[in-house]
Each structure stands twice: as C-alpha cells, then as structure tokens.
C-alpha cells in the first residue's frame, strides 16, 4: 500500500510538471498562430490603426513571455485571470460550461461503460457466433460514421420523425435534473454510439487473449462454466488494457466532444475552447487546456493504479 501511495505522490508531482509543459506549449502555440485577439475580434473591420489601439487596451503590446509569467503567477495563487475579450472572470465563465460538460460526459459514461463491458463480455463468451458478429458489425458501423453524422441520423429519427426528444439541447442552469436529462438525451446517445465500440472490442479482445493461457485451461478442465471462467478468472487479469481504453474514452467524453456540442448547441467547455483559440483569447485557452489536461491526468492516474492493484507483479516490482 505504501508503494501505491508513493506512486500517487510521484505521479501528482509529475502531473504538475505536465501541466506546466502544456501551458507552455499551448501559450506559445497560440502565440505562433498568425494574428491576435485584436485582429480576430475586429475581423474584416480591422485596420492597422484600430488594431494598435485595441492591442494597447488589451495589454497585448507587452511581450508574450511577460504575459505568460504574470498568468503563471496568477495561476499559482489561484487566480485564473479574466478573459481578454470580454473581461469576465474566467473562473465564472468556465464554471457553468465545465459543469455542463461533466454532466454530459457523466451521462454518456453512465450508459456506455456498463453497456460496453456487458456487450464485450458476452461477445467473448459467444465469440464467433451470430451474436458476436451482429454486435461487432453494429458497433463498428456506428463508430465508422463521423460523430456529426451519427448525431444527424439520431435527430432525424428521434427529433424530426418521432418527436420524442428535442433536436437541440438548450440547457440552462435553472432546469430540473429530469429536464436536463431529457434535453441531453440525444447528445448522450450520440456519444455512447461513438465510444461504445472501442471499449467493447477491447474488452472482448483482452478476455479472448487470456482464454488460451494455461491457468484458464486449468480452470476449464475443472469443469467450471464459461461465464464463470470469464468473470472470475479472465476479467480480473484483463482489466489493465480495458481500464486503459475506458480511461481514454472517458477523457474523450470530457475533452473531445466539441463537435457534438456544436451540432446540439450544447453550451460546454469544448465550444468555449475552440472559440477562444480562433479568437486568440489566450487566458481562456490556457484555463481550458489546464482543466482538460487535469482531467486527463487524473483519469490516467486512476487507470494506472487500477492496473497496478490488479497485477501483483506490478504491485511488488523487484
């Protein structure tokens, strides 16, 4: 146990280092993009004169590294700063968006992870049967359609033809939980279709991979039912790759949903970040990327810890 604690502390420290590296990359990446906030906001209406005034007003006339340092200092003292574009507190700006994003991601995860595990275990159990092929074909087809296309198809059936769910997810903060779930049903379903195949196939592959191992042969010879073999003996040992893929997909549900947000007009963090990148609102981009990166690092850490806990060899390295 102490070993795990050590790993966790170590990884947290490394996580901070990663965050620092990301903030550098993002800041100077956006800095390298042609144009800045003043030009982006004025758009076609920009002239050299007005851009110059705007830059001074925004403090963009200061060199990039100074702006970065003052941001870093703010971050260290718990101040995310204000959006350059509209001078709003970033913590306030991001707060609602983040809770929306986590709500949608959590909703989709609550459907997709159990579903994927269930389908994957069944597929491993009934491998090469008709069931296996049908599930495989269906999930593969659903992930080979681009997200927005899956979304449009769901909208066609469930919003336009049947009228069961709204075609856009106009969620605001004062909705009840039931209303929120109802309004985010289609985006959650879209995300489920997008991530379920990956996790389900990895579950199936990891289990099948173990079924040939000597210890499973042994269990099988004892005459234990195939379902029990999988659940008791194969699954625990197959957890490492499965948990890894689940972590990647969970991260995706939080970080990568910008297209679903656009199609369903769902006010989440992804949209905010894309907007801010295209307008070069660097403090907001930095704050978003810090949040995304933290989510990713935490999920990864959990995945690694689960892998370690389930594999005694990793738990007690020589």
């Amino acid at each position: 146990m102490i070993h795990i604690l050590k790993i966790v502390t170590q990884r947290f420290a490394l996580g901070l280092l990663t965050l620092f590296a990301i903030s550098l990359i993002i800041t100077f990446g956006v800095e390298l993009l042609p144009g800045d906030l003043a030009e982006a906001i004025l758009g076609q209406g920009a002239t050299p004169e007005t851009v110059k005034v705007f830059r001074t007003e925004l403090g963009l006339d200061k060199p990039a590294h100074l702006r970065y340092l003052s941001w870093l200092y703010g971050m260290a003292t718990g101040d995310m700063g204000v959006s350059l574009a509209n001078k709003r507190e970033i913590s306030e700006l991001i707060g609602i968006r983040l809770s929306n994003t986590i709500f949608l991601g959590g909703f989709a995860a609550a459907i997709s992870i159990p579903l994927a595990l269930f389908l994957g275990i069944l597929a491993a159990l009934y491998r090469n049967t008709l069931y296996d092929r049908v599930v495989n074909t269906f999930t593969l087809t659903s992930i080979s359609f681009p997200e927005f296309f899956v979304a449009y198809i769901l909208i066609l059936f469930f919003a336009i033809k049947l009228g069961w769910f709204p075609g856009i997810s106009n969620v605001s903060t004062n909705l009840s939980l039931g209303d929120k779930l109802y309004r985010s049903m289609l985006p959650a379903a879209t995300l489920t279709l997008v991530v379920v195949a990956h996790m389900m196939r990895m579950t199936r592959a990891a289990i099948i991979n173990l079924l040939a191992s000597p210890y499973i042969e042994m269990v099988r010879l004892k005459g234990i039912s195939p379902m029990k073999i999988i659940l008791r003996h194969a699954l625990p040992n197959a957890l490492a790759p499965i948990v890894n893929v689940v972590a990647i997909n969970l991260a995706y549900l939080v970080v990568g949903v910008v297209i679903v947000e656009v199609v369903f007009v769902y006010p989440g963090l992804g949209q905010l970040m894309v907007d801010s990148v295209s307008k070069r609102d660097i403090p907001v981009v930095q704050a978003c990327s810090m949040i995304f990166a933290s989510v990713y690092i935490l999920l990864n850490l959990s995945a690694d810890i689960i892998s370690i806990v389930t594999n005694p060899r990793l738990l007690h390295p020589r």
Partner: protein, 529 residues
C-alpha cells in the same frame, strides 16, 4: 388577368408588398374605377397589421463566446441583431433602401453638404429611465473617434467637429461635402447610448433605447430580452419576449426550425433550402440586397498588376453556373463592380460580362500565359471553396491554370484576406454607392482589398459625394462602375440573396434587404399572426 390580381393579392397578404405598392400594381394592370375601389378597401382591411404578444425564438448563424456588448466590437450577425434589439441609431434603412428617421426626427444639410444638423426626437427614454439628449448622441459618436478600436473610425474621419445646439440638436461639421452623411451617421456601430458622468458612454452596460430590454445573456449561447414598455415607436416591437440562440452549424439550425425549437433562423443552408421549404408549417423567404461575394486580386502584386491578367480572369468564369451551383439560384450574377441591381445608381446599361473562353484566352496570351493560385475558405463566404473549384474548371477551358488553395477558416480575415495575392471575400455591401466605393475602391482606403488606384475614379468619387444634382450624380457613378469593371482588380461573380426560414405563424410587412432578416430588425418589425 384574374390570376394576376390573385398574385398581387397574395403578395399583399403575405406582406411582400405594401398597400401603396398594391395600388400601384393595380394601376399598372389597368384596373380603375369601382373594381379598383373595392380591391383597395379590401387591401386596407387585409394588410397585415402588427399584433402584440408571444415569445420569438430565433436561431442565429453567428455568435462566439468572445463577443462583447461594446458597439465598437460588433462584427458578426449575432451581435448585429442584439445591437438592433437593444439600441437605436440616428436613422434606419427602411424597406425601400432609403434612410428613415429613428432617434433623429429630421436632418438638414447646409453649406454644400458640409454642415449637417440633426434634430433629435424628444421624450425618448433609455431602458433605465433617463431621457435622451444631445450629450448622449455626442458621447456615442466620440466612442468611435480618436483613439479607438472601432471600425467606424475611418467612416467618421470626415467629421471635423460635433457640437450640440441646445438639448435636442446636434451639428456635425465635415471636412468635405457628403450628400449621404445621414447613412454614415446611422452606421450600425454607432449605437446611441447614454452618456454617463464624465461625458463618456459605458460601452458594455447593455442599455439602449431599443425595443427590447436585455435581461439575460450568455455570450455565444443565448440572449434573452423582454419588450421595452416605453418604446418610442408605437407600431414596432410586437413580441413580449425575445430569445436568440447562437446555432452555428447550418444543419442544427434547420433542424431546430423543423422541430419547432425556434421560430426563425437566418442563413438557411442553400443546399437544402428547397427541402426545408417543403416541410409543413415552415416558410423559406429571401430578400435581395447589396451582399456580394468577390475574388479580389492584389493589383500591386505580379501577375495581377497586369490588366490583361485581370481581364482574362474576369472572362474566364461562368457566373451563371456559380449562381446555380453555389447559390442554388438564390442570387444574381455580378458585373465585376460592387453596386447591386437594387441600388438607385446601378449601371443597368453596362454590358453584362459573360463567360467567354476565347476572350479569356486572348487576354491570357497577351499576358504571356497565366498560372495562379486562388485562396479560399468557407469563412470567406459559404461555398467559397466550391466556387473556387468551379472557377478553376471554367478557366481551364481557356488554358488558364488556377490552383485552388483551401486556407484554414481560422484567422482567414487576418492571414489571407488582403495578404494573399488572390482570394475569396464577402461584402455585406453598403447602403450607398459612395460608401461602398470609398470603403474598398478609393486609392489608399483601409479596406481597398485590391490595392487598386485609379486617378480618374478617385476624382469622380470626391466630386459625386458632394454633388446634389441627382442626374449628374448618376452619370458619375455610371462611369465609376465602368472603370471598376474594366480596370479594377475585383471579380464580382455574384450578388447573394439573404435566405432565411420562419415558422408560418410569423408575419411581416415588406422587408428591408440591407442585412439578413429584414435588415437585422426582424424582432422589431415582425409579429405573430
């Protein structure tokens, strides 16, 4: 004859023409006497009149989390519609394209259109109860003058001084005569806001004199406002509540309308406009305005500094096919100058340039062969990449080689437009010929995206601006259009209509075409039938 009468009756009922236009058309049809009288009485009773009530929900194609309420930063269609919901201006463009009084009751030009006197309407209240006076107007103008980021700055350079003459009169002194100054003074940026202590406006306060009071707003997501109970126009601002959602994806927008989530959408996806119109309960409508899509060439850069190259390229494009396949017929061909057919001084007698591979080949040969790159992105205008691809194929038939470069939409206006030698661009157009030409065609103008300079053109432009004799003015503008078309650096293949969709419960009068959705004032002018 009966079918013709039915047709205009229908137009009146749907609000496409006014009662006066109805009467004029009856005269054209030769209907007089009692039958005309009956029809006119019918028209009076029928003509749609506004009805109060309801909540209008609109899905708008723009909007970004980085938008702000500061009028100096209004750049997209979402903020423009919010602007017109909460603010008023000195004047407004009406459905005939003329300037109608709004916060100014009247105006008067003196001294060869060098001095302009605006008389303000009395008793107009801001949303917080303060009464409008000349200090507010002056402060609102000063927000866009001097050290400012406002794009309206270059428009107001001609203003030498503004002063008040009593509580309700504002006097502008211009550096040169400008017969169109009321248009300039009503530019959408110059929203009239309250002057706070210190004589400055507070640009982000969201307070104006407009038809709706801002209640709640999340930038890039949603705007919510309620009817201004003290609105000074008694026959405008019919809805009790106004909600505008930013729906950037075109398919999401038409889905929102189809499923009844919103009642109005702008910028209908042209590819599917005919399919949307077929749905029950939905109307697809369009207005013709000054919006045009262009391919500006930098005339200060080789090979576009050679007019033979420009003429070759102007002859090498099949405009009809582009209008058919990029606009799906929702527009008309352009004639390589920016003046729309609906504008008063449009040179209709100027011969329409057509697709002529032989002529193109002839000019290309004179230029010693042409091989160029054309930069495009859908940020320039929807379908710009497709239009460029079509252009490439058309030009290939004349032996001209065009390589289409798809640029990232991100940062298109700062990295590609006016930077790359040849690209795609869009202009919402300007309500007056002078304004359009001064903005983008006068030598050295900030937005002269062809970097073109023609002495004769510049001279005519200054002269026509101050000319008050309409016939003489017309002649000058005709010549200027010909010069741009024959010598300028821009290919204007098309003028695009504004196409939008509404629920059939929404009614309106004759619409203005200066912006999308009835001059971006749909919330003020429309109502629920």
């Amino acid at each position: 004859m009966d079918s013709k009468i039915d047709h205009i009756k229908e137009q009146l009922m749907s609000g496409r023409i006014t009662r006066r236009e109805f009467a004029q058309r009856l005269m054209v049809l030769g209907i007089a006497g009692t039958s005309a009288g009956t029809l006119l009485t019918w028209a009076e009773k029928t003509q749609a009149a506004g009805k109060r009530g309801g909540r209008l929900r609109a899905g708008i194609a723009h909007g970004s989390t980085t938008d702000t309420l500061d009028p100096a930063t209004y750049e997209n269609g979402y903020m423009s519609k919010i602007n017109y919901a909460i603010h008023n201006h000195l004047g407004e463009v009406d459905h005939t394209g003329n300037m109608a009084p709004e916060l100014a009751e009247s105006w008067d030009a003196q001294n060869g259109a060098k001095t302009w006197v605006f008389n303000l309407r009395r008793g107009v209240e801001f949303h917080n109860g303060k009464t409008l006076d000349s200090d507010d107007v002056i402060a609102s103008f000063q927000h866009h003058m001097g050290e400012t980021k406002s794009p309206a700055k270059s428009l107001l350079k001609q203003v030498k001084s503004i002063r008040k003459d009593g509580k309700y009169t504002v006097v502008f002194e211009l550096s040169g005569g400008n017969a169109d100054f009321p248009f300039v003074a009503s530019d959408y940026h110059i929203a009239i806001k309250q002057a706070w202590d210190g004589g400055k406006i507070s640009p982000n306060d969201g307070i104006g004199t407009g038809p709706y009071v801002l209640k709640d707003m999340e930038m890039g997501v949603r705007f919510f406002g309620t009817r201004n109970p003290n609105y000074f126009k008694s026959d405008r601002g019919w809805f009790n509540e106004l909600e505008m959602l930013s729906i950037v994806d075109p398919t999401a927008r038409s889905n929102a309308l189809a499923t009844g989530e919103v009642d109005v959408i702008d910028r209908v996806d042209l590819k599917t406009a005919h399919l949307l119109a077929r749905k029950s309960g939905i109307k697809v409508e369009e207005t013709t305005g000054t919006k045009h899509y262009t391919f500006p060439m930098r005339t200060d850069t080789s090979p576009f500094d050679d007019n033979n190259v420009r003429l070759a390229l102007k002859h090498a494009v099949n405009r009809d096919e582009i209008v058919e396949k990029v606009l799906f017929g929702h527009g008309v061909v352009g004639n390589d100058h920016p003046i729309a057919p609906s504008q008063p001084f449009h040179a209709a007698t100027l011969a329409q340039r057509t697709y002529d591979p032989d002529k193109a080949r002839f000019y290309a040969k004179k230029a010693g062969g042409i091989k160029v790159k054309l930069s495009a992105a859908d940020a320039a205008f929807p379908g710009a990449v497709d239009a460029a691809v079509l252009y490439k194929e058309h030009a290939a038939a004349a032996g001209i080689e065009i390589e289409v470069v798809r640029e990232p939409s991100d940062g298109y206006w700062s990295n590609v437009w006016m930077k790359k030698p040849w690209g795609a661009c869009y202009w919402g157009g300007r309500p007056t010929e002078d304004w359009m030409f001064s903005t983008a065609y006068m030598g050295g103008a900030s937005w002269n995206d062809t970097f073109w300079k023609n002495d004769r053109f510049d001279k005519l432009l200054i002269e026509a601006r101050a000319e008050t004799n309409q016939a003489k003015r017309r002649e000058m503008y005709f010549e200027m259009q010909k010069i741009v078309s024959d010598k300028g650096g821009v290919v204007v293949p098309m003028f695009a209509n504004y196409v939008f969709g509404t629920s059939d419960k929404v009614a309106h009068g004759t619409m203005a075409g200066n912006w999308d959705l009835d001059g971006d004032k749909f919330h003020e002018r429309w109502w629920y039938s």
